[in-house]
Symmetry: C2
Subunit: 228 residues, 2 copies
DNA sequence: CTCACGGTTCGATCCAGGTCGAAGCGTCCA
DNA sequence: TGGACGCTTCGACCTGGATCGAACCGTGAG
């Protein structure tokens, strides 16, 4: 069996704790400098530099120089997908990194998955949209209906511009904690942006946790009512 | 970022060439003995035994004793999913194991993905089914319509029994070579079984390639006409 | 019972690669 | 222009883990 793509290079890149920590940090969707990632991974800057070079070479992340800093982000949301899939399998196989800490429930309720909303609330949002026939599912990639576009416009998202980019408008992304899909793609990102803009929730600095205020959560539930 | 599942253990397991070769072989869906996997990976039986123990411990494969042989299979189709995702990323990142060999086109046209049909023909089959509204897509997991169940019965697949198992009846599985979905799950398996039973195609021994005969291919195209 | 065979365990070897100190290089600021 | 800072390169060190020979164990065959 010497055919097909070479999974070893990529898997080996993910198989080192320092690199995995860096990638986990980058799952927050924002760009980090080399130094920040070094601290995140708990290694010296030299070591981090070596790891980052390997990750760039492997096509998992990209770096942009800006002044004397270098900002790194995941290379694509495909990479984020892979990381979520891996986390799902690890979760199910019972490999926890540490025993559930205090912020673990918050992470399960709402977090960013690269640049869109994941966790209980992310799944609830997609459920609500599909239940009201605002989005439909065609062969794995979601598809906005006419009423859906109407809804999005009212919510403050111009879907016309989003569809122009080469990134798929919306896309089902499997959630590792809930084991069901939430909304990804350009629309997923735009929705989360609107949620921030309306002040319903804020990112907890340095983590993937998305913190909803009490009125924000109520407004969210009203905008995306549960199917039940 | 010390929260969430531990992806390192699993990724490290996949990051060794010998283990990756074994898993790639197991993607063919059939069970292999420890010795066969050792030859497949190009290592001695002792080394293979050590690797297999690690893979079992990590929950990626399971082994069953039978006489003086031990048969190994992938632990779940989730593992197969992960491998396909990894292959997709590796393919796109341009990491090929070897330069495309002679059987590469055959692998792209039709192969087994664990236990269901993948490649051009696998994608075409799902396309045909969705186009004729025989299956629908709800939040990532496919769903058979009433007419779909009718169609399956006519094709020789009793969907009633399949739905009883704890494995999802059907499921979209992202194809690494085509980068679109094909049909997985219990129904995907049953469909491939029927294709074998009707003599349309056979597995090429020891590889993932599925070889359609000329009349078999014609019958396949007739049963699953292209949407165009 | 004895032997052959598949699989595992043990121990020793060896090497890829992670790690960090020191030095180099470019950018920004005073 | 000098100095601080962020990042990278180089070199040396060291450890984890892959590998295999040899011995061991259980099953099946003669």
């Amino acid at each position: 069996m010497k055919l097909g793509p070479d999974i070893v290079r990529i898997a080996a890149l993910l198989g080192d704790p320092a690199r995995a920590n860096m990638l986990a940090a980058l799952m927050a969707g924002q760009a980090f400098t080399a130094g920040e990632l070094a601290r995140e991974a708990g290694v010296t800057p030299q070591t981090a530099s070596s790891h980052l070079a390997k990750l760039v070479d492997g096509g998992l992340i990209v770096g942009r120089r800006q002044g004397r800093h270098v900002y790194f982000t995941l290379a694509s949301d495909e990479v984020a997908d892979l990381l979520e899939t891996l986390m799902g399998l690890a979760e199910r196989a019972g490999h926890r990194r540490v025993r559930p800490g205090p912020s673990e429930p918050a992470l399960r309720q709402a977090r960013v998955c690269y640049d869109h909303l994941a966790g209980d609330l992310g799944v609830a949002m997609l459920d609500s949209l599909t239940d009201r026939a605002l989005v439909q599912d065609r062969e794995g990639s979601l598809c906005l209906t006419g009423e859906g576009a109407e809804f999005m416009r009212a919510f403050g998202v111009e879907t016309g511009g989003l569809a122009r980019g080469r990134r798929p408008l919306c896309k089902a992304c499997l959630d590792w904690s809930v084991r069901r899909s939430h909304m990804g793609g350009a629309l997923g990102r735009a929705l989360l942006d609107r949620i921030y803009a309306r002040g319903w929730a804020r990112r907890v600095e340095g983590t993937r946790v998305v913190n909803f205020s009490a009125p924000g959560l109520a407004a969210f539930r009203a905008a995306f009512p549960s199917p039940s």
